[in-house]
């Protein structure tokens, strides 16, 4: 009887039964005592008194005894529960082991769902949630950004680089306990073929203190050592220490030859320390020591030259708002004279943002994509849960006989539900353990494949990831087991039993399984639509007209120590270009000062006969100084006029080429050839327009190509700077051999060239398009997985149905239904179910399209083609999933089926 009582009531009864026991025991004791005393001649009253006297303080002893007994009872109950749990687990394991195929299927499904989530969460955690490693009180450390309103751009410009005078102002802010500057540079260590590249960060002396980092060995340089002409010291990363010195302590004291100076290693940063960003930095060097060597003149005085970034620590108790106000006031005061003259933007301000760039105002698309992928992996997990629910339900139905026996043997419904939930959690926990292995082996691969620039050193199994896996595994198990458990609780299984033994199954259970299959379809539609949209974006990008021809295009940058070439630059570049052109397979070589996705330089031109030129909507016009071979190497067509020739040399008449946009912008429909253009507002000498070049993408794919003009690099129409900066080379066929031949050709041109960086345009494009590639790959992989799982789910429902309804099918066959009709019956059911799921999925996708739109390229998030294709695929898959059980249905022999 007590088995049926709810737990709470049973507990109350037990407590009072404990008390009753005690009272009975004590009553017996008094009875014995009194009996004995009476037998020794006491009167009944005297005996009673004596018994009480012997017992002592009745009420206090009784209270003590009760406390002890209740404690003992609680203890007992816990150990009973543990025993029950152990039994249940044992039972669950045995019962699962009886159908190992199913159990393994479920565990794998869970492992996949949980593992995908763990990996994605790990990425998002690293990118967005946790501070860069080793920073103390990271939420107090902020990154500063500059902003101002630009009339030219017609919007606020936000910028993360500060000039030295601006940095000095920030240092006076009382709201910060410290402001550190840092700037990253590519460095070359060693020389020639043996040279290698690294990433160094010039940092102010208080950098490590502001971040609150401690060295793992040696020391960091001191604040007072960071001064112009101070000692050349370097801190190396733990990774570089391991790579180059195999972790030997003797590394400290060694010197690193960066070309512009020899730096002595004084300390080793802690393992995984990357500074305020997640880049893989190899060296940290004092900024004031390195700047004169690296930056050239004016690094300290030019207010408009932003070349390093700032990290600041908030003084305790100072709010972000207060620090922002103070920093903004300081920056505005510094710019006041320029603003008055109109040579700086309006309304300057400082933004105090989290130290992680991904959380700041300039966050890139990758962080958005990472967030999106976390959402996608949650969808996958949901699909996995639904699938497992479906499989478990099928299993519970198959077990109805056994369950009925257990019910009739008196097992409570609650025990039964608990048993099913326990099985779910057991499966998902095993899946979680498998997911852990999946994370360990697959995570590193996925991380470096998706986001190769991030230093993942210490991003292994963090506590967050482990907690997530445990939590998700528990939840997934409970969710997946909830549906079968609910059915058991409602007692339908009891009813099912009678039918099941007769070979039938209730309609409701079948309906639930159908609904689950439908839900899977809906979820896979969402993923496949995402996949379709991203794949189309990617295709559009590759089809989009960049202007230049990316295939076979290389960019080669010679690296010297600072600008050691000086006035020899022109001659050395000429020599190197000649040598490059002689390499077999090289088609064209050009010299240029900037390059798509690398750098840009803007200058407002004037045109003779055109009074005032409105600034173009696409931003200030770009100017680029290039050599004769540039257009051919880039694959840019000259639409009218002629290209630059070698004869357009320093003394020759000034010439310029304009792109289509610039021609239209200044001269409209008029022919620009022969017009006179002034390069820059202040320029007085005229450059004759000799040709029109086709438009080309410069800094960003997907935006309208900028207004742009070109002048011969030899004529130096703009202040020289380093106009001879890099080569563009077109080759027949990109190979490793040609890459190293080109590197050798450039390095051999002059002994001061230490290294030549060779980069293919295809690599650059891959970097530019990574967020789309990421989205397309992940959505496609997950989408296909979801499709397979959904198809299997549908198949299992239908196959089960056919098996259960063989009698009905037999009747139909006996009544003359043809083979085709029987197959059609099952297939049409599959298609109907899928159609509902597809409709729901498309509806949800259309409604949430707005969120996806900013991540796409040249495709509407409501692109009808994508939706149609996805719907078609799903219906086809449903038809196939239905045809197989349909086939079996058609094969049912009426006589055997009817005989049962």
């Amino acid at each position: 009887m007590s088995e049926r009582l709810p737990n709470g009531i049973r507990r109350l009864l037990r407590i009072s039964s404990v008390d009753r026991d005690l009272d009975e025991e004590l009553a017996a004791h008094f009875q014995y005592t009194i009996d004995e005393l009476v037998s020794r001649g006491y009167t009944h009253e005297a005996a009673q008194q004596e018994a009480f006297k012997r017992f002592g303080d009745w009420s206090s002893y009784r209270r003590d005894l009760r406390t002890i007994d209740r404690g003992a009872e609680r203890q007992r109950r816990w150990s009973d529960r543990l025993d029950a749990l152990r039994q249940s687990v044992g039972y669950a394991v045995r019962s699962l082991a009886r159908s190992p195929g199913l159990a393994i299927g479920i565990i794998l499904t869970f492992a996949l769902g949980i593992g995908a989530n763990a990996i994605m969460y790990g990425i998002v955690e690293r990118l967005l949630l946790s501070a860069p490693p080793h920073i103390t009180d990271a939420d107090q450390v902020k990154r500063l950004y500059l902003s101002y309103y630009s009339d030219a751009a017609g919007k606020r410009i936000i910028n993360s680089t500060f000039s030295y005078p601006e940095f000095r102002e920030m240092r006076t802010a009382r709201g910060f306990s410290g402001v550190a500057g840092f700037s990253t540079n590519d460095v070359v260590i060693g020389k020639g073929e043996a040279a290698e590249e690294g990433l160094s960060m010039s940092v102010t002396g208080d950098f490590f203190e502001v971040l609150g980092v401690k060295p793992s060995r040696g020391r960091f340089f001191r604040a007072e050592e960071d001064r112009i002409g101070g000692p050349q010291q370097a801190v190396i990363s733990y990774g570089y220490w391991q790579r180059k010195f195999a972790g030997a302590p003797a590394a400290i004291g060694q010197t690193l030859d960066f070309g512009y100076g020899k730096y002595t290693i004084v300390g080793i940063a802690p393992r995984g320390f990357t500074g305020p960003e997640l880049q893989r930095i190899d060296f940290w060097i004092p900024l004031h020591v390195a700047a004169p060597q690296l930056q050239g003149n004016g690094w300290q005085d030019d207010r408009g030259w932003g070349w390093f970034e700032l990290a600041a620590r908030l003084r305790p108790g100072v709010s972000v708002a207060a620090a922002t106000d103070e920093a903004t006031a300081l920056n505005a005061a510094g710019w006041a004279p320029d603003i008055a003259k109109g040579s700086y933007g309006k309304d300057p301000g400082v933004i105090v943002a989290p130290v992680l760039p991904a959380l700041g105002p300039l966050a890139g698309g990758e962080s958005v994509v990472a967030r999106l992928l976390l959402g996608v992996s949650l969808l996958v997990l949901l699909i996995a849960c639904v699938n497992v629910a479906n499989l478990m339900l099928a299993r519970t139905i198959r077990q109805t006989r056994e369950i009925a026996v257990r019910l009739s043997l008196g097992i409570s419904r609650i025990r039964l539900v608990a048993q099913i939930l326990l099985e779910g959690v057991l499966l998902s926990a095993t899946g979680g353990a498998a997911a852990l292995a999946c994370f360990k082996w697959g995570g590193a691969f996925v991380r470096t494949a998706l986001l190769p620039d991030v230093a993942w050193d210490d991003a292994g199994l963090t506590r967050g990831v482990v907690l997530l896996i445990i939590f998700v595994a528990l939840m997934a198990g409970l969710i997946a087991a909830a549906v079968p458990a609910m059915r058991a609780a409602r007692g339908e299984l009891g009813a099912v039993l009678r039918l099941a033994s007769a070979g039938g199954v209730t309609r409701t259970t079948s309906r639930v399984r159908t609904t689950l299959a439908l839900l899977q379809t809906t979820l896979s539609v969402l993923l496949l639509v995402g996949a379709g949209l991203f794949v189309r974006s990617l295709v559009r990008i590759h089809q989009s007209d960049l202007g230049f021809d990316a295939q076979g295009l290389y960019q080669i940058t010679p690296r010297t120590a600072a600008d050691q070439l000086g006035p020899d630059r022109v001659r050395v570049f000429g020599l190197a270009a000649e040598r490059l052109a002689r390499i077999p397979g090289v088609q064209a070589v050009g010299i240029t000062e900037s390059y798509p996705f690398l750098a840009r330089r803007t200058a407002m031109p004037r045109a003779e006969g055109v009074d005032s030129i409105q600034r173009p909507l696409t931003g200030s016009p770009l100017i680029q100084q290039v050599s004769a071979g540039y257009f051919e190497a880039m694959g840019l067509r000259i639409l009218r006029g002629r290209p630059i020739r070698d004869s357009d040399s320093e003394g020759a008449p000034r010439v310029a080429l304009v792109n289509q946009s610039l021609a239209r912008w200044i001269w409209g429909e008029q022919d620009p050839i022969g017009k006179c253009l002034y390069v820059g507002r202040a320029e007085t000498r005229c450059s004759e327009v000799i040709g029109v070049v086709e438009n080309a993408v410069h800094s960003e794919i997907g935006v309208e190509p900028p207004v742009q003009y070109y002048t011969p690099v030899a004529q130096r129409q703009l202040p020289p700077f380093h106009a001879h900066r890099l080569f563009v080379v077109r080759v027949n066929k990109p190979t490793a051999a040609i890459e190293s031949a080109m590197r050798r050709a450039v390095v051999s041109a002059d002994s001061r060239i230490r290294f030549a960086q060779v980069q293919s345009m295809e690599d650059q494009l891959a970097q530019q398009t990574r967020s789309w590639t990421l989205g397309a790959t992940m959505f496609t992989v997950f989408g296909l997985l979801a499709l397979i799982v959904a198809a299997l789910g549908l198949y299992s429902v239908l196959a089960f149905d056919v098996a259960q309804r063989s009698r009905e099918i037999g009747v139909r066959a006996a009544l003359g239904a043809t083979r085709n009709r029987l197959i059609g019956m099952v297939v049409s059911r599959a298609v109907r179910v899928t159609a509902i799921g597809v409709t729901a999925g498309i509806l949800i996708a259309v409604l949430s399209a707005g969120r996806l739109q900013p991540l796409l390229f040249g495709v509407s998030a409501r692109d009808p083609t994508v939706y149609a294709v996805v719907a078609l695929i799903l219906v086809l898959v449903a038809a196939v999933a239905g045809a197989m059980p349909g086939w079996r249905a058609a094969g049912v022999d009426p006589t055997t089926a009817l005989r049962g």
Binding site: E25, A28, H29, Q31, T33, R54, G56, D57, D69, Q75
Partner: protein, 108 residues
């Protein structure tokens, strides 16, 4: 003479060495054996019995006593037996030590 709690527990364990007994029998045995030297409340004995049961040193079972009355019988568990053996030894050592001190001659 009053008793320390640990000592009382030891006495109760000892009372059960000879076989299962109910509470009254334990009380009676203690009184008879000490011939009234030790004044132990029956209530304290029961507290000790229940505490020992909670600790798993003895176990209890309802049964019928020789008088045909229902009574709760206590018996030693395996760990109770072991506990008694060690505590008896310790007790003997303790008494021995105290006795030595009390018997000692004047300063050495």
């Amino acid at each position: 003479m009053n008793l320390l709690q640990g000592t009382l527990d030891l006495l109760v364990l000892k009372a059960l060495v000879f076989g299962p007994r109910h509470g009254y029998q334990v009380a009676r045995w203690v009184r008879d054996t000490t011939e009234g030297t030790l004044e132990v409340d029956d209530g304290a004995l029961y507290t000790s019995l229940h505490r020992l049961e909670k600790r798993g040193l003895i176990e209890a079972e309802w049964g019928i006593a020789e008088t045909n009355r229902r009574a709760k019988f206590y018996s030693l568990t395996r760990s109770g037996r072991k506990q008694m053996a060690t505590e008896t030894q310790e007790w003997a050592r303790y008494v021995d030590a105290v006795f030595k001190v009390l018997q000692a001659a004047e300063a050495v």
